[in-house]
Structures are given as structure tokens and as C-alpha cells.
Symmetry: C2
């Protein structure tokens, strides 16, 4: 039995990434109802908004037709969140059973969460942090390659190289992320040694994601080379090459300091682009694999297509 399916009691070894401005209760409940692990992305939510999303997600899962057993879902928490204690308390109060942590030290909260019976997974971009996660007592690790959207590791290790390296060094289950949107890419990730996959961009391009319609349309128009890792002097982040990106790049090309870059970045750029739909001045986070996505579809159809392609590619590979 696949370890990822076992840990989360899900039908497919697929986690829907808990992305800022993207993964609200609609997306998370749709992913969980489709047999995956749905995650609410809390990093762009005030604590009270998160509570509302958790409650609505539970209702949506309880109301789903044909529900035989309780469907699992989780919350992604960025450990650099300023009001982190509040967020963690809400998660416990609302009875959330799964937490994915990212952007911080896995030692900080893993023990506390596990004492409360919560399954904890940490998201990393390097072997070093994967080992730290295992040492901290995490139940699994998400290893995310350079091709992933949003914030990214400084090592720039791609999924093709990162997954075998992490696999060599840790014993806990491993979830691959970055560049995975199709059944073939999922099969490739398992061939590299992952036990499951976390999928971001493909679910961002779903009907149920909370991205602004402008950005969803933009995602379906992206081609190769249309995203790039930016702001490396601050925290590296993969962005669409829009006006804001070009402004940053022009400054970087002239040798801008971290302080100058912080000024250009300002505040709430991601909200402006991803949630409010300003495609020029906003920060637009999405993975390289967006170049393969040409249509906005319902989550159920997305999952069916991924699983169907995965099964057919598996048969093809077996016959080689």
C-alpha cells in the first residue's frame, strides 16, 4: 500500500498545494472530494478568515454526495507568519488533522502539533532541510524543485535531481513537488523515488481556485520562458515576467541592493496580482509547468485526467 495514501487515508497519492491567494475552502474541499488531500493555504489569510475557511471546508466535505467516510483535509502554514500562535490554536480548536508547514524551522512546531494528534509534513527545497524535518519528527516531507511557483530554495535544485538526493537521505515518506501537473510527470516523480506528489499550478488553474479571473486567464496564455526566479537578493520567488518583474530585473541588472529591491517590492504585491487581478503591477506566482496549462477546468476533471494519464503511462513504461 502506498505510504502517502495510507498516512492521509486518500484515494490518490496527490496533495493539492496550499498556495497563497489560491487555496481557500472551495479548492481544498474539491480536491479532497476528488480523492486527493486538499490543503487550505493560510499564509494569505487573517486568523479569523482561516477559521471561516476551515469551517466551510468541513461543511463542504460533510455535504458531499456519496460520502462514505470522513474526507481528510489540511492547512498549509508558513512558519514566518506573524500571528503564528493564533493560527496554530485555530487549527487545533477546529480539529484539523493535517498540517503542512513551510518557510521556517521544522523543529519549532512539529512536536507541539504531533502531541495534539496532528500529522505534520514540512515543505523543503534541499536535502539539508529534508533531514532537519525528519530529525524534527515530521511524518513526511514535500521536496520542491526549482521549477515550482512562488518562493523557492537558494540551491535551485530541480525536481529531477532533488528527489533522488532527498530519497537517499531520509526514511520518512517523500512527496515530490515542482513541475508536476500531469499523469506522466506524476509517474516520473514516483520513478525518481517519491511516494506521492504535491500539485500546485494545475490546481491554481482550476475553477475552484480563488485566484482572480484575470490571472487564471493569464496562466492559460503562458508559454515557455514566461516565468523566472526573481528577487534572489531577498527570498527567491518564481514569478510571471510581467511589468513588475521587468522593473525588478532592470534594477537587479544595475546592481540594486536588497534595500532598493524591498522598496520596489513594497507591500501586498502578491495580493494585488493574484487576488485583485492587476497583471502589470502585481506579483504573479506560478510554476514553470504553467506553460503546459491551456484551460481552466473543474478540480474533479483535473484529477480524473491526471490519474487516467498516470495509469496509461504506467502500462506503457511496463511494456518497454
Amino acid at each position: 500500500m502506498n505510504e502517502i495514501k495510507q498516512i492521509f487515508k486518500i484515494q490518490h497519492p496527490i496533495v493539492q498545494a496550499g498556495m497563497i491567494w489560491t487555496s481557500g475552502w472551495r479548492l481544498a474541499s474539491a480536491a479532497s472530494n476528488a480523492g486527493c488531500l486538499g490543503l487550505i493555504g493560510s499564509a494569505s489569510m487573517y486568523p479569523d478568515v482561516l477559521r471561516e475557511h476551515i469551517q466551510k471546508c468541513k461543511l463542504a466535505l460533510a455535504a458531499a454526495p456519496g460520502k462514505a467516510t470522513e474526507k481528510p483535509f489540511g492547512v498549509n502554514v508558513a512558519l514566518i507568519y506573524p500571528d503564528i500562535e493564533k493560527v496554530m490554536n485555530i487549527i487545533v480548536e477546529e480539529g484539523v488533522k493535517v498540517v503542512f508547514t513551510s518557510a521556517g524551522d521544522p523543529k519549532k512546531w512539529t512536536g507541539w502539533l504531533k502531541e495534539k494528534g496532528i500529522t505534520v509534513v514540512h515543505v523543503v527545497g534541499s536535502v539539508k532541510f529534508a533531514q532537519k524535518s525528519e530529525d524534527a519528527g515530521c511524518d513526511a516531507v514535500v521536496a520542491e524543485g526549482f521549477e515550482a511557483g512562488g518562493h523557492n530554495g537558494r540551491e535551485e535544485t530541480t525536481t529531477m535531481v532533488l528527489i533522488p538526493m532527498v530519497r537517499q537521505k531520509i526514511r520518512i515518506p517523500l512527496i515530490a513537488a515542482g513541475g508536476i501537473a500531469t499523469g506522466r510527470q506524476m509517474l516520473a516523480a514516483l520513478a525518481l523515488g517519491a511516494n506521492g506528489v504535491q500539485i500546485g499550478s494545475r490546481f491554481a488553474a482550476s475553477e475552484e481556485s480563488s485566484l482572480h479571473a484575470n490571472f487564471k486567464r493569464k496562466i492559460t496564455e503562458l508559454n515557455e520562458g514566461d516565468t523566472q526566479l526573481s528577487l534572489k537578493k531577498l527570498v527567491p520567488v518564481r514569478l510571471v515576467k510581467n511589468k513588475f518583474f521587468m522593473d525588478v530585473q532592470a534594477a537587479e541588472d544595475k546592481g540594486a541592493s536588497p534595500e532598493e529591491l524591498k522598496n520596489i517590492l513594497g507591500r501586498a504585491r502578491a495580493k494585488l496580482g493574484m487576488f485583485e487581478g492587476d497583471l502589470e503591477e502585481g506579483e504573479l506566482e506560478i510554476g514553470q509547468v504553467s506553460a503546459l496549462l491551456k484551460e481552466i477546468k473543474p478540480v474533479k476533471q483535473i484529477v480524473e485526467e491526471i490519474v487516467r494519464e498516470y495509469e496509461s503511462a504506467k502500462r506503457e513504461i511496463a511494456s518497454l
Copy 2:
């Protein structure tokens, strides 16, 4: 029957990359004798040196024990090479049957080579150039991801994303490159839709490669994050982060112009590092996957290990 094995009449769908300062007759003949397609890397050779390597490669293949049929081999030609006509004439005169071209327009030489009965493969880093290669009449394409060593595409598309994108757009056989050193990575590349793989770094770390012993030892000591794409204002190239790299980065961080970077680069930096073994001042080109390579081995053993791991991973995947 696998199309790559068919085109080149080889036992395994594996091409040994024709790398500068690395792939002489010793490496190419060893790879061909081990059932792969061996390639001589001509871009770091004077025309007369190339002729000598081709002749020695033919002798080494003819002298190999247990030789039943003629073993194939090829030459990699960078189309920006200044004495390109001389190189192409030598290839024809010496009866080479396979040419891999790179770094230039595939339309320039493909027709001329194919008239002479030569199989032509072009190396690309983007879908756009893969389509140009098919249009130019190439027999196959190598699509090389961001994680690959040496010169690299401006789109920074990783193997995980590039291979499915190229597969969608071309009908000719597709060879995946970048981040492939093991049997599991080979299986992942085929799962993504490639027909075969081109392997660079792993063969660079072989006994038969012509890299300086200092650099070979250095390769086995590299860890994650120890290579990075550099000189993006000139032609992007993946390098080991040594003193030369840090000098370039310091200049880039201060906003150095292309002219200033050209001055820092100077001439013959790759020869200095890769062939003469200056690990501080030389340019050291190697793939990200070098972080997985901990030992210098004979080519025969390398190929056996890759094929064994590939077969076992295939059985494992089939049973999922």
C-alpha cells in the same frame, strides 16, 4: 522497438554527451563499446586534433573484443565553431555516421550532412528550437533542461517541464538531457515521453573522460547548491561555484555590463579549469546532478549500474 536504439543501432537508449575537454576518443569508444552511443566533443578541439580522435576511436572500436558488428559513434559539433567547414569536411572524410549539432541554427548544416548519409541530431533547450530542428530535417532532438552542465537555454526550463512540452510539439524521436545520471532518472525521462537519454556529468566522472584529475576529484566532492547558472548577460552557463564563479557573481551583483563580464571571463577559462585542473581560476562546467556522483568509475561499470537500476525501477513502477 525503441526508436533511439533503432536509429543508432545501439543496445541501450543512452547517448554519452559530446562535452568539451571531456569527450575524447577514450570516452566515446568506451561508451560505444558498452552498448551506448559514444560522442566525441569537437568544440574544444583543433580540426587536426578532431581527426586524430575520430581515427583513434575507430581503431578502439575495431579492436574491441567480442565485436560482432560495427559499433556506432558520433561527433558533437558546436555550430558557432569558427572553423566549422573544416570540421564538417573531416567528419565526412573520416566516414563518421552520426553528428550531434548544438549552439546554432539547425537549418545551416542538417541538409548538407544528410545528403552525405549522416544521421543528424540537434541539441536544444526549448520547444521553439525543437520545432526548428524537426523542420530542418533532423533525425532526432536532444532536449536539455536547466539542470544540465555547461551552456544552457535562456528559458531555464527544467527537464521535468521541457520534455513533456517538446513531446507535445514534435514527432521525431526525443532524447532527454539534464539531470540524468541514474537508472531511476532515465526511467523518469522515458515516463515524461522521451525515447532515450543523453548523459553528461556521470560520464564526465568516468575513468575514460579526459577531464583533469583535479576536476574529476572535485566533481565527486560537490554537494547540492554547488553549481549555478552564471554569466546570463552573455551566454548562460552552469558552473561550479569556485573563485572564478564568485568573481563573476560579485561583478554581476554590482550590475556589471556584458563588456565587463567578457573581460573577467577572458579566454580559455574552460580549458584552464577542466583540462589543466586549475580549480580556482578555471571555468568548471558540470551538471547539477554531480551532487549525486561520489566516485570515479570505468564507463562499463557506469552503464551496467544505470541499466540495472533502470530495470529494477521499471519492475517497481509496474507493480505500483
